[in-house]
Symmetry: C2
Subunit: 468 residues, 2 copies
C-alpha cells in the first residue's frame, strides 16, 4: 500500500465521505417522504374531500353573513359546530365587537326624464337617502379628477366616479387595488366638493348587470352622503347619456347604522406534540357582504382552512407545532377580527411560526406570495419543486392578507395563497358570488396546496429569527 | 509598461472583449424589445381584442357545427368571411370529404319497472335502436373487466361501463385519456360478448345531469349496437339500483349514418416577407359536437388562432415567415381535416417551422407542451422567462394536438397550448359548452400568449434540423 493511500485512510476523509453520503441519502429519503406525503394529501383532498359539501352548507344553509347580521351569527354557530364535529384538540370562540349596518329594502337609481331604472347597490356603510334624492350628475373618469374638482363645484349635484379597472394588469387584484380607493374615499371627497350623492362604476372587469358593493368610510358627520355602485353596464349607459345632455337621476336607499354588536372569530386547533405554544395559523374570513352567498369571498377561504386541519388529521400527520384554523369575523367592513386575533395571540404569548390566508377566491391554485424577510422567502421558495407536479409555480415576495396582517408586528411571516384571479372580479361582492360558481376540484386543489406547505413548515420549521 | 500588458494590448483580446460586450448589449436590447413587444401584444388583446365578440358570433349566430351538418357549412362561410374582413394576404378553403351522422330527435333511457327517465345522449356514430330496445343491464367498472367478460355472457343484455375518470390526476386530460378508450371501443367489445346495447358513465369529473357525447367506432357490421352516455348522476343512480336488484332498461334513439359530404378547412395567411414558403401554422378545429355551442371545444381554439394573426397585424409585426391560421374541419369524428392539411402542405412543398394548436379549452393560460426534439424543446423553453409576467410557467415536452399531428411526419415541431384544465370536463361535449361559460379575459390572455410565442419563433427562427 502506498503512502498516499495510507495517509488518506489515516485521515478523517473516509469518515467525512461516509457521513456526507448518509446525509445526502437522508435528504433524498426526506424528499421522497415529502413527495409521497404531499401526493397523499392531494389524493385525499380530491377523493375524500369535504370542502365542497362544507361550502355548500355555508352558502346554502347559512347564506350571506355580514358582520352583525343574523346570518353572521348563524355562521358562527355552524362553524363552531362543524369544527367540533371533527374532533380537533381545541375549538373556541374569540369575542369581539363588530359594526352593524343594514341595507334596507329599497335601492333604486332612476334616470330622468325617461325613468329608466339602473342596476345599483348601496355601498357598505352608506347612509340612506331619506326619501328620493334628485340631482344633476357630474362624471369623473378618475379619483384624481374628482379630487381636483373645485370646492363647491358639486353643490347640490351627484358625483359619478366612472373609473374602470385597468384590464391590462394581469393580476386582477392590482387592477382592483388601483380603483378601490375611489370606492372607500370617493363619497367623502365628493361631499367635500358639495355633492349630495355619489354613484360609481362597479369594481368589476366584465360588462354585466350586477353591481358590486363594498365598504366605504366617511371622514365625519359632514361628509355623509348616500353612496352607490352602478353595474358596469349601467355606468356605461349613464356615461353615454351624459355625452348627449345634462342628466338628472333620482337615488333612493334606506340603509341604517346600528350600535356595535358582539360577534366572534371561530378557532380550531390541532395542538403541537413538540411545541404546543408555537403556532401556524391558517385562515380566511367568515363574514361576507350581504348579497349573494359569500362563496368565493370568502367562503372558500374559511372552508379550505378548515380542510387543512382535516387533511392533516386524515393523513395521520401529528404536527410538532400547533396548527390553528381561524375563521375571522369582520374582514369586509372593519377588519376587527384580524386585530382581535393578533391581540389575543399576544396576550397568550403564542409564538407564530407563520400565518397563511386564503382570501382571493377558490379558483385553481397557482402559488403563494410571502410577506416576510428575504431569508424566509427564499427558504419557503425551495419547496416549490415539491408542489410543481400540482401546477404550483411560485412562492415569492408579495402580500399576505388583511386578516393575518396584524400578526406582522410580532414578526410573523405572512403567506398569501394565490389562486388564478381572472374570474374573481366577475363575482366579487355581487349577487353572483354563489356556490354554483365554485368549481369542486379547484377548491380541493387549493386546500391540498395550502395543507402541503403547512405540512412542510411544521416538519422542518422556519429559519430562526436573528435579532437586529 | 510591463511586457505582460503590452502582450495583452498586442493580442486580439481587447477586440474580443469589445465584440463580446456589443453582443451582450444587443442580446439585452433584443430582450428589452421582445419584452415591450409582448407587453403590447397583451395590451391589445386585453383592451382591443376581438376574440370574445368573434366567439359570440360563432357560438350564437352559427351555433354547433358537427362535420357534415348545416351548422358546419354555416361555420365555414362565417369563418371565410371573417378572415377576409381582416384583410390578410390570403384566405382559402381546402376541400375534404367528411362523414355525416345525425342524432335524430329521440334519445331516451328508461329504467323498468319504475319508468324513471335517465339523462342520456347517443354517442357519435352510434346506430339507432329501430324502436325501443329492452334489456337487462350488466355493469362493468372498467374497460378491462368488460374485455374479460366471457364470450356470450352478454347475450341479449345491455352492457353498462361505469368507469369514472380518475380524480387524482392533476391533468384532467390524463384522466380523460384513461377512459376515452372505453367510449371509443366499448360498444364494439360489448357487442363481441353478445350485448345488444351499450351505456356508459359520461366522461366528466363532476356529479351533474349533463351527459357527454363523443365519438365511438364499430369494428365492422356485426358489432354495431346502439351506444349511449349517461350523465354522471344517472350512472350513479343506475349503479345504485343494480346493487339491489336486476335492472332492465329501455333505450331508444334514431341516429342515422349518411354518405360523406364535402366540407372544408378554412385557412388565412399573413405571407412572410423573407421566407414566404416557410410556415408557422396555428389552429384549432371548427367542427364541434351537435349539442351546446362548441364554445370551449373548440370555438375558443379557432378564435384564438384567428386572433393571433389579427394581433400580429394590429401590432405592426410583419413576419419573416408565413403565419397561417387554420380552422380544421372534422377533428371530433375522423380528424380528416388535419390529415388533409398536412397532405396539402406536402403537395405545396410548404416547409414548417412549427405548428401550434389550441384545443384544450379557452381557460387561463399556463404554458405549452411541445412534441419535438430535445434541442427544439430546450430552445423554446428559453423564452418562458419572457412570458412569466403573464403567468406562463412552462414550455416543456408533451403533446401537440390532434389536428397538427399529421405534420409530425414531416419533422414539424408541434406545440400544444395549455390552459388550466380543471373546468374543461365540466362542459366538454355537453349542452353546457356554451359561450356563457367562457371568460373574456381568459380567452384573451390565451390568444396573447399564443401570439407572443409565434412572434418569437418568427423573429428568431427555430434550430436548424440536423439530418440523421
Amino acid at each position: 500500500m502506498s503512502k498516499t493511500y495510507q495517509r488518506i485512510l489515516g485521515s478523517p476523509l473516509p469518515l467525512f465521505i461516509t457521513l456526507f453520503t448518509v446525509v445526502l441519502l437522508c435528504l433524498n429519503l426526506n424528499a421522497q417522504d415529502d413527495s409521497l406525503q404531499i401526493r397523499s394529501i392531494y389524493d385525499k383532498a380530491l377523493t375524500e374531500g369535504e370542502a365542497y359539501e362544507n361550502l355548500r352548507q355555508l352558502c346554502k344553509d347559512v347564506g350571506n353573513r355580514l358582520s352583525g347580521s343574523e346570518g353572521a351569527q348563524r355562521a358562527v354557530e355552524w362553524s363552531k359546530s362543524k369544527m367540533e364535529s371533527y374532533g380537533f384538540d381545541k375549538v373556541w370562540l374569540e369575542p369581539l365587537m363588530v359594526p352593524k349596518w343594514t341595507r334596507g329594502d329599497t335601492e333604486t337609481c332612476i334616470i330622468l326624464p325617461e325613468k329608466t331604472s339602473l342596476k345599483v347597490l348601496a355601498l357598505g356603510f352608506s347612509i340612506g337617502t331619506d326619501g328620493p334624492l334628485r340631482g344633476e350628475v357630474v362624471e369623473f373618469e378618475t379619483m384624481q379628477a374628482l379630487k381636483d374638482a373645485p370646492e363647491g363645484s358639486l353643490n347640490g349635484k351627484i358625483a359619478f366616479l366612472n373609473q374602470a379597472m385597468n384590464p391590462k394588469l394581469i393580476s386582477t387584484f392590482s387592477a382592483y387595488g388601483g380603483c378601490s380607493g375611489g370606492r372607500v374615499r370617493g363619497p367623502s371627497v365628493a361631499a367635500e366638493k358639495g355633492a349630495i350623492g355619489f354613484v360609481m362604476r362597479s369594481l368589476g372587469l366584465r360588462a354585466d348587470d350586477f353591481p358590486h358593493t363594498g365598504v366605504m368610510y366617511y371622514s365625519g358627520e359632514t361628509d355623509s352622503i348616500p353612496a352607490f355602485a352602478l353595474s358596469t353596464n349601467a355606468a356605461y349607459y349613464l356615461s353615454k347619456a351624459l355625452e348627449k345632455r345634462t342628466v338628472e337621476i333620482v337615488l333612493e336607499a334606506n340603509c341604517e347604522f346600528h350600535s356595535d354588536v358582539e360577534s366572534y372569530n371561530v378557532v380550531a386547533e390541532i395542538t403541537g406534540n413538540q411545541h404546543p405554544n408555537k403556532v401556524i395559523t391558517v385562515g380566511g374570513h367568515l363574514d361576507s357582504w350581504d348579497v349573494g352567498e359569500g362563496a368565493h369571498d370568502d367562503g372558500t377561504g374559511v372552508i379550505q382552512s378548515l380542510e387543512v386541519l382535516r387533511l392533516l388529521k386524515e393523513n395521520g400527520i401529528e404536527p410538532k407545532h400547533s396548527i390553528r384554523c381561524v375563521f375571522f369575523m369582520n374582514e369586509e367592513n372593519g377588519a376587527r377580527g384580524g386585530r382581535a386575533y393578533a391581540q389575543a395571540c399576544n396576550e397568550r404569548n403564542d409564538e407564530h411560526l407563520a400565518a397563511m390566508e386564503s382570501d382571493r377566491g377558490g379558483f385553481a391554485p397557482r402559488g403563494f406570495t410571502v410577506d416576510a424577510s428575504k431569508v424566509e422567502i427564499e427558504y419557503l421558495a425551495e419547496w416549490v419543486d415539491l408542489l410543481e407536479p400540482y401546477n404550483i409555480h411560485f412562492i415569492k415576495k408579495g402580500y399576505g392578507g388583511v386578516d393575518i396582517n396584524p400578526l406582522k408586528e410580532f414578526g410573523t411571516p405572512l403567506i398569501g395563497f394565490v389562486p388564478d384571479s381572472q374570474r374573481y372580479f366577475d363575482v366579487h361582492h355581487t349577487e353572483n358570488d354563489v356556490f354554483e360558481n365554485v368549481n369542486k376540484r379547484e377548491l380541493e386543489l387549493g386546500a391540498a396546496t395550502m395543507t402541503s406547505l403547512i405540512y412542510l413548515m411544521d416538519k422542518y420549521g422556519m429559519p430562526e429569527k436573528i435579532e437586529d
